[in-house]
Assembly symmetry: C2
Homo-oligomer: 108 residues x 2
């Protein structure tokens, strides 16, 4: 049985753990920056869904948006902040503990 | 940059990925069964919150509830179904790919 004080799932942060937001940060940590369209298409979400999740990430200080006009059309670039990178790393470590623990006890 | 067709975050299943539900399944795969109170205390959630998440898991066929009276008091045992174990394993594999990919590209 788990130690009641330290189950890895307790360490997961809903802000970062949510699937689309986790995907956004994973891409940004890997790619430095990405544009809105690339994130939308890679993660398979709608414009509205991605916008809502980016707002959560911006409000939490985890990503920054940079809106520019390119050939007269607006283009939004997204970057992870240093806090975003740190928070993503903590999430990956919590996920890694969960995966490792599962592997150690696997009965399936 | 990511291969647009196969980002690991796309493979995550919201039913299982949600933090509390992931924790429930992780505990059940490890422990075979757990009672409601144990899950609630280990995951640090309220009765209402845990009930809502268990309903989602029951409706998806991932866990089964077994309500019994023990010394006149109701007690709810929770077990993962075979489908619950398979689905949890797929989630762990997707998380492992995400963690591995991050480690391979880590710039933080």
């Amino acid at each position: 049985m788990a130690d009641e004080s330290s189950h890895p799932a307790v360490e997961l942060d809903e802000t970062v753990h949510q699937r689309v937001r986790l995907g956004v940060l994973a891409i940004l940590v890997e790619a430095d920056r990405a544009n809105f369209t690339y994130l939308r298409d890679t993660l398979g979400v709608t414009d509205g869904n991605l916008s809502a999740h980016l707002n959560v990430l911006v409000n939490a200080g985890l990503v920054q948006l940079d809106k520019r006009f390119v050939e007269g059309r607006p283009r939004t670039w997204v970057r992870a902040t240093p806090k975003g990178r740190t928070t993503f790393r903590a999430e990956v470590e919590a996920l890694d503990r969960l995966v490792t623990r599962y592997r150690a006890s696997a009965k399936v």
